[in-house]
Amino acid sequence: MSDTFTGTVAVMAGAEALPRANGEFVFDAPWQGQAVALAVTVVDRLGLDWDEFRRRLIAAIADDPDRAYYDSWAAALEALVVDCGLADDAALRAAAPTERAAP
């Protein structure tokens, strides 16, 4: 994964821009960072253009503008994964944990 690619992710502007404080990316909980890493890794491993994720993120935010940013991010991630045939709703239901894994 190149710095140029992650740079493209990091410089997104507009409503879809990653939240920052003092220029730093802020993840309020570990799952938020994991969601970012999953999206970046899937796009990279499948050789997609980052815009494939970005437009789904924009759509997810537009779908529910009052939802928290990373909730929209997770919805966009799920849409990408399902659209690319990597998972479906049944597989995700079956794989959902009921407890937080040990850190």
Partner: protein, 198 residues
């Protein structure tokens, strides 16, 4: 935490469980693994943010010998803390004093020391910033909310591919006894570019 709470951890939020499910399915397929995901998170938090630069400044505030090395050969002093690389070569640190304020710009393009400051803010690349930082820095800074007293000289440093500048702000008053980590948390990206002074 009581023994009871220990045995009944807080339930997962639906979104958290769904992200964990996505990770589990993709891990099963061999597309992702936890170590690589953690590395991506670390990259976003550390390499693409000004956190490293803040650590350099905090070290200089607490260690006079380090500060001397930083002002003498910034590239080497920054490398001591493990930061560097092509985008961070040929660093020069310029020190703010009660009578001098330093401001960094790149008039040609948007040269910027990524390894210490992360990604440049959008305004850093804006033609208006690049032109006015040189022509009327005092007016520009005032518009950005940073009023520089008339008796303080403003020095403008033009970064290039050859030399990248980093401002060493003055240590805030009343921070005696703070740890290096506490001090680093006070260092803002904008202060290290010089559009903020406090």
């Amino acid at each position: 935490m009581s023994a009871d709470a220990h045995h009944h951890p807080a339930p997962l939020a639906p979104v958290e469980a769904r992200v964990a499910a996505i990770e589990a399915v993709l891990t099963e397929q061999g597309l992702v693994d936890r170590a690589a995901l953690d590395e991506v998170v670390r990259h976003f938090e550390d390499d693409l943010s000004p956190r490293n630069g803040a650590k350099v400044i905090a070290r200089a505030w607490t260690d006079p010998a380090y500060k001397a090395r930083l002002l003498d050969d910034a590239t080497a002093a920054i490398a001591e803390l493990g930061y560097g690389g092509p985008e961070g070569g040929h660093m020069v640190v310029v020190e703010n004093t009660p009578t001098v304020h330093n401001l960094v710009v790149c008039t040609l393009c948007s040269c910027y020391p990524w390894p210490v400051l992360g990604l440049p803010p959008a305004w850093y690349k804006a033609p208006a910033y690049r032109a006015r930082a040189v022509r009327e820095p005092r007016v520009l800074l005032a518009e950005l909310g940073t009023r520089i007293a008339d008796d303080v000289e403003i020095r403008v440093w033009d970064s290039s591919a050859e030399v990248r500048y980093l401002v060493l702000p003055e240590r805030p008053a009343g921070t005696e006894g703070r740890t290096e980590d506490e001090l680093a948390a006070l260092v803002t990206r904008d202060a290290m570019i010089g559009v903020e002074r406090r």
